[in-house]
Every structure is written in structure tokens, then in C-alpha cells.
Amino acid sequence: MTMTGTPVDNGVNTAALLGAREALTAAPEAAEFTWRATCSWLNGTHTRSTVETFSGLGQQHSHVSAFTFDADHPECFASADHGATPAEYVLVALGSCLTAGVAAVAQHREIQLRKVTATVEGDMNVLGILGADPEVRNGYRDIRVRFEIDADASADDIKALVAQSQKRSAVFDAITNPTNVVVDVA
């Protein structure tokens, strides 16, 4: 897409991703991953989750370090606001997944990105979680993502980038499609 001859670099190693795709197609059992988070109650609605290990490629892996995430409810819900609400973490997950996808697809399509910003909003009627109206669902009614992208590409190519990122996004899929969830007690 660029006519300058400067190699496109969004910091994404697409050669490695394409190599992984080829290797995993040949050995599909290695493609099974399990992601994991543990969540501990601290006090009130305040919790701390830790993400450290996951499995895949037939073995256990550890992140470079353990990452922690504090969640809480805001003061207007009579809480201490020690962190984002769990529902906001869903927006964080969606925004970061789609934005990473835009970068990866852009690299593959040789589009140089300069700036990408995604604003994610979700509409929720809290009468659902308060149990005040059985007709209202607990979760988001609508989620909107607005991308602002500065890149060396036409408006149509940028639209196609964003569409392809949604098509290949794990979190977009997890939110837009039903997923079996099993909760049990040890």
C-alpha cells in the first residue's frame, strides 16, 4: 500500500503467526489452548484476579509475570471503587482484542498504522441485575465500538481491516455468540 518502499512495521510478527497457522493445521491437537484466571474476594464487592498460567501447544506456559486485576463497583453503587466494574472488563477485553486484531490484519495487508483508538460503550439497564424487572436482561443490551484509525490506506481498506478484525476476534465471538458456561463448587 505504501509507495515509499519503507517496510510496513506495526510491531506484529505476521511471519510467526502464519508459521503457527501452518504448523497447527498439521498438528491440530496442539491448537487446543486453555486460558485461566483466578479470582479472590477481598472485601465487599472488591476482588482481585490473577492471570499467570495457561496451557497450549501440548504444554503449560507462564506469562512473563503474574498480572493482577482489581474489580469493584463505583461509589454510586455504595462501593469503594477500587477498580473497574467486571462489566467494564468485558469492554476492555473487546476493545483490546479488536484493536490487536486491527494491527495484525494491517501488518498482514501491509498497511502502516499511525494511530488507532477504539471507544467501547455498552448499554445496560440495571433493573435487570437489581432483580427489579423480569423483562430486563442482566447483561449488555447493545455494545458499540467506534474506531478512529490513522493509517496509509483508503477508507474502504480501513473498513475492511475493522471487519476482518471482528471476524477473527476471540472476544467478539465470545460476546456475540452463546457459550456454554459450567459453574461448580469444589
Binding site: P28, I143, A163, Q164, Q166, K167, T176, N177, P178
Partner: protein, 440 residues
């Protein structure tokens, strides 16, 4: 009985191969489970016409392109006309068809193969699997959760709306089958909900010419299996949203919406009588619109500026009007839905092939129809087998010519290699490697 070649399936592809073998004086039979063109006679709905115009459906050695000389080259054959065309083709080329004979097993036998049927056994040096790409319905596993009070019917079993109960109908899938069935079922007075996943939007005519005229003249259907950017994706692409009618009209989600069809996202789950649909409808519509525009730009480029007088100016189509907040959950019974039609695709049935030639998804591994894991085995009529054209009736001519050449070489090698099979195999591989440079 022993023969050099057994062809399994007397549809257009198996018969075209038969013609190619006859041209090369290679003795063979064509084994057919029913009558010639069996799936066209027994597995297609009443109103179906071919998606490709008559001029496109050329078979090698057939008397006249598209069958009878009186046929409109720009028309679309009905199912009965297709069956008649293939039937008369079998007669024209004098194909050695053994009909009403079902193959129950294809296994190896020495250096060759053994074809077991309900009416005898054949042994052969080579076998051609031409049993059809669209003979079994791909119904998703989630269909098992459908309440038993709701009628469930796969696309292959559907004939016409009258066979459905009165009341609402959920049509799952929006490829050619899904959009065609949604339209005719809605017109029968049964309100249709159409579950739409990734789809391919395509106008019937563009700048006054049939879309197949365009894809042919732009060379798109000539693209080879080893040139396609992503072969797995190309082979699994849904069929385009097209219908063959005498009016040569288009069919897309906007037309269906205007006809009153309710458009929802891909069916994700049925649980406790409630169907849940994907919230990604807007994106799959946007992907299809963007892809259509890219296709039209490719076609415009192929025509060049000089021909505008001849074929009219470029057109662009209105974006898909996807509902802003589509229904994401439906209590099927409460919504009045009495039946579900699974237009979720077709697949070949190769369950009788008892050879180690399958990948982890149960598909025959082949390179352009050559099954390398079983020398002498060939497969025909699958999506993008050798070219994008392969699964169309008009795709058989090129594929069978090239595969018959490959098969002919295989027979020569088998005969010349002599009996010691280890030496034979080594020689075989060496010679095939030499031939590979000819771009088979």
C-alpha cells in the same frame, strides 16, 4: 471382474471422465447407485434451477452446448432439464454405466483397488470417486437440541413449502439454498425468520451481463487450486446468493427483507426451546458488502474503460440494510415457529472409502483431484478441486481432461513397472515426479 478403471458415480463429472477414458481407449465402467444423474432426480427441491446459465454448462463430447439446440443460452435449466441433459449425455457418449448398483466399499487390493457393491465386486488399477459434492446435508450438531414438537427438515429433503406445517419457519443459512427457500416459503404465507452467518452477496446481472459472463471474462473461475490465496477458505466458501429465473433477477437480504423475511444472526444455540442468534449480523453483512464491492472493482478493471458503450457503465448496489438491533433470542414455540429448514450446506459422502486418505476433518486429502496417498485414486466434482470452476457442470471438461491424462500415465506406469511392488512403487514415484513438472 477386473478392469483398468472404475468410475464411481454417473453424474456430470463421472460421465465426463468416462468420455475422457473412452477417448483414450481405456476400458472402464461407471457404477451408479440409482439412475444417471441420481441426485438431480431424488435430492433437489421442485423449483430449483441451475445457478449457471445454459451456455456455461458445457460437457465434453456433448452434441450441443447446454443440451438441446432450442434452449435459450441465457436461461437456467430446471432440475428436470438437468437430469434429462445428463441422461442424454450418457447416451451420446455411450458411457458404460452399471446402474442401480451401490458401492459399499472401496479398498486396496494388491497394487490396485477393489470396489465392492451390492451387485458384485470389481478390481481395478485406478478408481475415480465422482459420487458428488452435494449428496449429504451438513446439519450442525446443535440441531439435536430442537424440541421434537418442531418439524426439522434438511435442505436435501425439502421439496416445496406445502410439505411444511402452517406457521412460522426458521430457515438456517443464507447461501443460495437458504435465500431461495426463504423466499418461496415466505411467499407461501409462512412467515420466515432467516438466520444469516457469513455469506456471499452477488447480483444476477451486472452492467447488463450475467455474473457468470463476468467471472468468466475476468478469468476468476480459471484460478487454479495452487494459485488461490487461501485454498481451505476457497473450498468452504458458501455458495453465492443467486437464483436462476427466467427474469434473471437478483436475490439478496434487502430483497428478502422487503418480502417480509425477518433477518437474524447466525444460529448459535438452541437451549430449552429457545434459539440464540449471533450478535455479529452487522459485521457479516458489512463483510459481504465490502467483498461485493471488491469483486465489482475487479470486474470493472477486467472490462477496461473502452467497453463502456458496449456493456454499460459500472453500477454499485445499496449496502445491506441489516436490522440495527436484530432479535438475539427466540422462544421458538411462543414465536409460532413450527418448522426449521437446515440450509447449512452439503457435503460429499465418502464413508464407503476404506483407504487412509482422509484428513483430521474427514475430508479426502487430494492435490487437484489426485489422491497422493493412494496412487491411482482420483476424486472429482468438489469445490475448487482444480479450479474455481470445478464444482460447476462446466468445470468437469477441464478437470477430467487433465486428470484422465494423469490417470493414463498411472496406468502406463503400473503396467510397465512389473510385479515387484517395492521396485514398482519407487519407479512410479520417480516417473510421477518427472510428470509433475508438466503442471498436472
Amino acid at each position: 471382474m477386473h478392469l483398468p478403471v472404475v468410475v464411481i458415480g454417473a453424474g456430470h463429472a463421472g460421465l465426463a471422465m468416462s468420455h475422457r477414458l473412452t477417448e483414450r481407449s481405456i476400458d472402464h465402467v461407471v457404477i451408479e447407485r440409482g439412475e444417471v444423474a441420481n441426485s438431480w432426480r431424488t435430492q433437489r427441491w421442485d423449483s430449483l434451477r441451475l445457478l449457471t446459465p445454459n451456455w456455461h454448462a458445457r460437457l465434453p463430447g456433448a452434441a450441443v452446448s447446454g443440451g438441446s439446440a432450442s434452449r435459450d443460452p441465457d436461461g437456467f435449466m430446471t432440475v428436470g432439464e438437468v437430469a434429462a441433459l445428463i441422461g442424454s449425455y450418457a447416451t451420446t457418449i455411450d458411457a458404460p454405466v452399471v446402474d442401480r448398483t451401490t458401492v459399499t466399499r472401496l479398498g486396496s487390493h494388491g497394487d490396485g483397488y477393489r470396489v465392492v457393491t451390492d451387485r458384485g465386486v470389481w478390481t481395478c488399477a485406478a478408481a475415480v470417486i465422482a459420487s458428488g459434492g452435494c449428496v449429504a446435508a451438513s446439519v450442525p450438531a446443535l440441531a439435536a437440541a430442537l424440541p421434537t414438537s418442531i418439524t426439522s427438515i434438511a435442505g436435501l429433503a425439502y421439496r416445496n413449502p406445502r410439505a411444511l406445517p402452517d406457521g412460522g419457519v426458521l430457515v438456517v443459512g443464507a447461501a443460495a439454498t437458504g435465500v431461495q427457500l426463504a423466499e418461496e416459503i415466505q411467499a407461501s404465507g409462512r412467515p420466515v425468520t432467516l438466520a444469516v452467518g457469513e455469506h456471499v452477496r452477488m447480483p444476477r446481472t451486472y452492467r447488463g451481463r450475467d455474473i457468470f459472463w463476468w467471472t468468466e471474462s475476468a478469468g476468476i473461475l480459471d484460478e487454479r487450486h495452487d494459485e488461490v490465496d487461501d485454498l481451505v477458505r476457497a473450498r468452504h466458501l458458501p455458495s453465492p446468493q443467486l437464483i436462476g429465473t427466467p427474469q434473471r433477477r437478483s436475490i439478496d437480504l434487502n430483497h428478502l427483507g422487503e418480502a417480509g423475511v425477518r433477518i437474524v444472526g447466525r444460529l448459535g444455540r438452541i437451549h430449552g426451546g429457545v434459539a440464540q442468534f449471533s450478535g455479529a449480523l452487522a459485521n457479516v453483512c458489512s463483510l459481504a458488502d465490502l467483498k461485493l464491492d471488491r469483486l465489482l472493482r475487479t470486474l470493472d478493471d477486467s472490462a477496461g474503460a473502452s467497453r463502456i458503450d458496449e456493456i454499460g457503465p459500472p453500477e454499485r448496489f445499496e449496502p445491506t440494510r441489516a436490522p440495527r438491533s436484530p432479535v438475539s433470542e427466540l422462544d421458538l414455540a411462543a414465536d409460532g415457529i413450527r418448522s426449521v429448514v437446515w440450509a447449512t450446506g452439503y457435503r460429499p459422502d465418502h464413508t464407503w472409502v476404506d483407504l487412509a486418505v482422509f484428513d483430521h476433518r474427514g475430508r479426502i486429502r487430494h492435490r487437484g483431484g489426485v489422491v497422493a496417498d493412494a496412487p491411482g485414486i482420483y476424486v472429482l466434482g468438489l469445490n475448487v478441486l482444480r479450479r474455481r470452476r470445478s464444482s460447476f457442470i462446466g468445470g468437469a471438461a477441464g478437470d477430467t481432461a487433465e486428470l484422465a491424462d494423469h490417470l493414463h500415465r498411472h496406468l502406463d506406469l503400473t503396467v510397465h513397472a512389473g510385479t515387484p511392488s517395492a521396485t514398482g512403487t519407487a519407479r512410479h514415484e520417480r516417473l510421477l515426479a518427472t510428470h509433475a513438472t508438466r503442471r498436472d
